[in-house]
Amino acid sequence: MAETILRVKQLSRSFSGIKALDNVQLDLKKGEVHALMGENGAGKSTFMKILIGLLAADSGEIIFEGSHLENSNVSDTLKKGISMIHQEMLVIPELTVAQNIFLGREKEVTRKSGWPSLWLDDSEINRKAAELLKQMGVSIDPEARMKFLSVAQMQMVEIAKAISNNAKVIIMDEPTSAISDREVATLFGIIRELKAREVSIIYISHKMDEIFEISDTITVLRDGKYIATKAASELDNNSLIAMMVGREISQMFPENAGNHGEVVLSVQNLSSKGKFSDIHFQVRSGEILGLAGLMGAGRTEIARAIFGLDPLEKGEIKIRDQNVRIQSPQDAISKGIGYVSEDRKGLGFIPDMSVSDNIILSSLRQHRKGIFIDEKGKELTVNRIINELRIKTSGTDQKAVQLSGGNQQKVVIGKVLLASPEIVILDEPTRGVDVGAKVEIYKLIRNLSEKGIAIIMISSELPEILGMSDRILVLSKGRQTAVLSGKEATQEMIMKYAVA
């Protein structure tokens, strides 16, 4: 048995009276990949933020290589050798890739090159970053400004930043939620190398297959409480899910009755320079059209164009036989289109507003008395949505930004649903959402389609695309390469067309 490098005992933390962590524990061995699992809001990120000193614990002990860390701040823990990749991708958009990677550690670089200690040595920072990125096998220009990178590239930079610290423990909070399979493979290669060098990894993800592929040990939290720690080999998909949600989940995807009505949305020759070209498809009422493809295939761009977020170069959009021009999201909403963005932080919700105000935002008109907001009616609707989607919140007036990632996603879906759309575009609807909630979101999507709503679902998770779609449109580099029937398609077929 390898020796323990980090031990946590009886750690607790409350937010305004509500226990986010209640006596949790962790025993991390040298050189292991230790998965931390739990539903949205289970307290995983809070736990990790306490470990690296970004949040303070109310009580409990953190012992790292024999010394106590309860009262350390981030800069101490970084120096001691713990680094973290944050779930919410904490980058400085205006700085360059290299500057982001070495942010907070400029002094080390300077010291080694013999400058006065307050001086910046950007050429050395650039050189080191280039070397690091090359080693990782990713092609990103270290001198590019962060804001011009794709989300996936930013994530790779965050990974580079964490490993460049020569850390002994690296915490990865949902590092793969925004990257494609190829990059996941790169990351797993890196993790295996780190392991070989006796570095310990705490790995958080909602993607089950990843967990079983990479982890040695699994610790499960539920509702802020420690449930158990087991060797990964002792568990399988179902037993792990049962530990996480506290009940058995027999079926991931709901039955599909397959009742479709008339064509609600049809697009023809849709093109946008440099993003996608010549896209044509139809969606019927009650139908789910899946959009599959690799990162950068143009799926999100198509959704944004239909929703009026980006201008179209050419092409026609018809809603129920009517040619329409959609110039703004407001246009789109008034024509019955709803959009759940993949970019939850950027487009999905207003962080500082309450859960209830966020949910009601697009449908305030339906909840008014004269010029006033009908508070009672609003509260009823909000509570119904919270119950239906099982949003975990301390109250309807909690700020949306304080919810866990998955619960934020549910708030966004709730908001879109309330505007009673005819067509709903869901872009990565279950990104960062736990299994239990995934099942609920799938049920919800199925419900919507059974009510006659036409649904376009973009997803990078193939099981999800296969489990939910009636038809699957596959895109590759901005062109559509196949339309497959949901019943007949397989992962292999989709992948073949996705790289075509």
């Binding site: 973290m84 980058v91 400085i92 958009p93 205006e94 907070g104 307050l118 910046l120």
Partner: protein, 276 residues
Amino acid sequence: MIIGTQVSINALLAFGVTFVIITGGIDLSLGSMVAVTGVVAATFAHPDTYPLAVPLLAGLGAGLLFGAFNGFVVTKSKVPPFIVTLGTMTIGRGLALILSKGRPVSNLSDPFNFIGGGNVFGIPFPIIILIIAFLVCSVILNKTILGRYMYAVGGNEPAARASGIGVNRVKMWVYTICGILSALGGILLTSRITTGQPNAGAGFELDAIAAAIIGGTSTSGGTGTMTGTLIGALLIGVISNSLDLLNVTSYYQQVVMGVIIIGAVVLDSAGKKERG
């Protein structure tokens, strides 16, 4: 000549507030700091009392303390910098009146008056100060770790914190530096008009902020350069001077200046859209 001094003072304040704005803050107390530091310096600058270094250090020290106080309140309270410095703007004005008993402090020594009015090798001394301050501020912003941290704090504060940066320390620094630069402006002005005026500097903060914004500093933090701010300050100086020469009254000048500020930002954001 007079424009030289006016532009220099505005540029000094604008450099200071550029640091603050880059971190995502704002400082409205610049004008009041000009008055306080000017009065303090003038108090020690009567002929045949103290050597020149004393009024200079007293003025700069007052600016440093004032700025550090701004920084302290901003970092220790959760009150937004806009409100904090709105408060200290009024406090500063009051202090200047108290210290001077409401009267201009005049009868200043020749060496002191040289600072704002003298020439070295034919170049007005304020311009020399401006150039030196510009170089020092540029170096701080681009070549030191502190400068990098300013961009980081303004660009994404949680990310800066998660990278182990002492966010509060960075903020303390920028407000303090801003105070020192305002003091330099206060000393220049006092020397130029050969009096410590408790009412001096009113509205200077707006010109300084305008210079920073015209120069491309984003009020939401994270971007900005000293060169941009210098250009902004020069532009404001040149324009108001040409309007003077064209006999445009000060009423119209204000309207023109307002249009230029908005125009600069509109052009800047239009340019960004095309690139982005």
